[in-house]
């Protein structure tokens, strides 16, 4: 099989005034791969996510998506190209229902537009049926089918995170960026999240990049791990390699077996 680099981060530096949040970081993601980015707080994980999704523009270096330079594109343009994300601090449309939140994600694929909405008619209705049915599939996939009519703001924390994943999938993305999807979840919810992420990766064949503090989860599901510390990449490799990497162990407070401690 011809392996295509879906995302290529090429010596990216991001500076905010005098502060260098990301310094000369490079890594790439293959088609269908599940990559995790880990690192202590303030390592620059979310910053690099924001650069990949058009919220920040890299000060130096290039970001390529499917071989195409995407520096400086706006977030909504990147979604059209096939990059979708979730947020570390959940950002749902709180006054909209579960279904409507996912339908907003679907909008970028909708052919209806304003004129369709004004004209109405059979074809618009057929398109809407198709849209809603597909949105419901995503909602069922994340296990929120019985909450379709609930307002997003009324969902418990863990379910809000799942709804963000459904909304991101509804954009029809190829590359899914998950920013701490397990934060605030209990043990059972984490188990379910792991099988959901596996399902999205294996069955839907989406490329996934994941930021996560739960090392168990990361070691469990990711195929490759990139470790950031103080804005620099300090290691990259399989979970097994990362577990024994000296630099990584030092970054995590220098204790003997830091990765195990992180689990708590």
């Amino acid at each position: 099989m011809n392996i295509l680099k879906v995302l290529d981060i090429d010596s990216v530096t991001i500076r905010f005034g005098g502060l260098e949040a990301i310094r000369d970081v490079s890594f790439a993601v293959d088609e269908g791969e599940l990559l995790a980015i880990i690192g202590p707080n303030g390592a620059g994980k979310t910053t690099i996510f924001n650069a990949m999704t058009g919220i920040y523009r890299p000060t130096q270096g290039n970001i390529l998506f499917k071989g195409q330079l995407i520096n400086g594109l706006k977030p909504n343009q990147l979604v059209l190209k096939g990059i979708a994300r979730t947020f570390q601090n959940i950002r749902l449309f709180s006054a909209l229902t579960v279904l409507e939140n996912v339908m907003v994600g679907w909008q970028c694929r909708s052919r209806e537009g304003l004129w369709g909405a004004l004209a109405g008619g059979k074809r618009v209705a057929v398109n809407r049926v198709e849209a809603i049915n597909q949105c419901r599939e995503y909602i069922e996939m994340v296990g929120l089918a019985d909450l379709m009519e609930e307002l997003a703001t009324n969902l418990p924390y863990g379910k809000q995170r799942l709804l963000e994943i459904a909304r991101a999938l509804a954009t029809g993305c190829n590359l899914l960026l998950l920013d701490e999807p397990a934060a605030g979840m209990n043990a059972l919810e984490r188990e379910e999240l792991i099988s959901l992420i596996r399902h999205i990766s294996k069955n839907l064949r989406k490329t996934i990049i994941l930021i996560e503090h739960d090392i168990n989860l990361v070691m469990n599901i990711s195929e490759r791990i990139v470790v950031l510390d103080h804005g620099e990449k300090i290691a990259e490799g399989t979970p097994g390699e990362i577990r024994t990497n000296q630099k990584v162990i030092e970054a995590y407070l220098g204790s003997e077996d830091p990765l195990e401690q992180e689990v708590v």
């Binding site: 977030p75 059209l80 909209l96 409507e100 907003v104 379709m148």
Partner: protein, 343 residues
């Protein structure tokens, strides 16, 4: 059974609104008093204005305090077209609406970079600029003297003599406005607007062109305000800058806010209530506005979400509409995904 109940409910709602509309249409037959008809026509104008502002400030969440400027542009353009070019009101009012929509585009552009208080200041400035232009562009607008003598509308050989044909005209415009707004807000585009008002960054991050949506919402809003202005010019047969001041913008904004942001019934109720209060208080002469202000404070305290809060919004309206047309089955397939291990 549940389906049956839903369908009958749906038909009952339709029947209720049909009866209500027929009653409204028959009002002139029962009320011969010109003053009452005049108040009703004014309420119609307020409804169009508050519905149009609600699209921008309620649904899209962009605070605009210069709405009277659009009203004024529509009124002056319509008046000039009828006075100088002898156009029929049927042509002049829509052109007035389109010209106003263009100004909506102009005002929508700064929303690219501005939000919240800053946008409000820009819209306030826009409102003042329009008023000052109307006041000082003597050659075209005759300044403070205004434009009198706008001819009474004619339909073939029928000339609008009494207030009744005006009542029906504004009635039709209100119906068109309500129907258009309903279609817009109960669509994917409408969901995008609500999404923008809730969290603009998140909306952009799921692929919504927020700038485009905001500008379109300004354009539509301005169009309907312009239509209202055009009708006003034709109805009163006189326009002057005094009718389109900052206070008028605030009044419309109060209708939207007290009625309930992001709610169509709210805007209608807000326009009717705030439009009626000054009329009811007319007997108090100069104390009227004092009482009006006090009443506003009381309303805000007891109804902070407005008379018809957005919380009453029908959930999943798009799906329910399709279900009522039997195009979609609302039953859920399985409460949990099949793939989950052990489930």
């Amino acid at each position: 059974m549940e389906h049956l109940a839903r369908f009958t409910l749906n038909y009952r709602n339709k029947a209720v609104s049909l009866v209500f509309m027929i009653l409204l249409a028959l009002i002139p037959l029962f009320i011969a008093n010109d003053y009452y008809i005049h108040v009703l026509i004014t309420l119609g104008l307020f409804i169009i204005l508050s519905l149009s502002l609600n699209l921008v400030s309620g649904y899209t969440g962009q605070l605009s305090i210069g709405h009277a400027a659009f009203y004024g542009i529509g009124a002056y353009v319509t008046a000039l077209l009828m006075l100088k070019l002898n156009l029929s009101f049927l042509v002049a009012i829509p052109i007035g609406g389109l010209v106003t929509a263009f100004f909506g585009l102009l005002l929508g552009l700064p929303t690219m970079r501005l939000a919240g208080d800053y946008l409000a200041i820009v819209t306030l400035g826009f409102g003042e600029i329009v008023r000052l232009v109307l006041l000082n562009w003597d050659k075209v607008t005759r300044g403070p003297m205004g434009l009198p003598g706008i001819p009474a509308p004619e339909l073939g050989s029928y000339v609008f003599m009494s207030k009744i044909p005006y009542y029906y005209t504004v009635f039709i415009i209100v119906l068109i406005t309500v129907a258009t707004m309903r279609r817009i807000v109960n669509s994917g585009f409408g969901l995008s607007l609500i999404a923008i008002s809730q969290d603009e960054l998140a909306a952009e991050a799921v692929g919504i062109n927020t700038l485009r949506c905001k500008i379109i919402s300004f354009i539509i809003s301005a169009f309907f305000a312009g239509i209202a202005g055009g009708f006003f010019a034709v109805y009163i047969s006189f326009v002057s800058p005094d009718s389109f001041t900052f206070m008028d913008s605030i009044m419309v904004l109060e209708m939207v806010v007290l009625g309930g942001l992001a709610s169509i019934p709210g805007s209608i109720i807000g326009a009717v209530v705030l439009g009626l209060i000054p009329e009811i208080l007319r007997f108090m002469a100069e104390y009227r506005m004092l009482i009006f202000g006090a009443l506003m404070v009381v309303i805000v305290i007891f109804k902070p979400d407005g008379f018809w809060s957005a919380k009453k919004r029908m959930r999943n309206a798009i799906m329910k509409d399709l279900a009522a047309r039997k195009m979609i089955d609302t039953k859920t397939v399985s409460p949990r995904g099949e793939y989950i291990e052990g489930a």
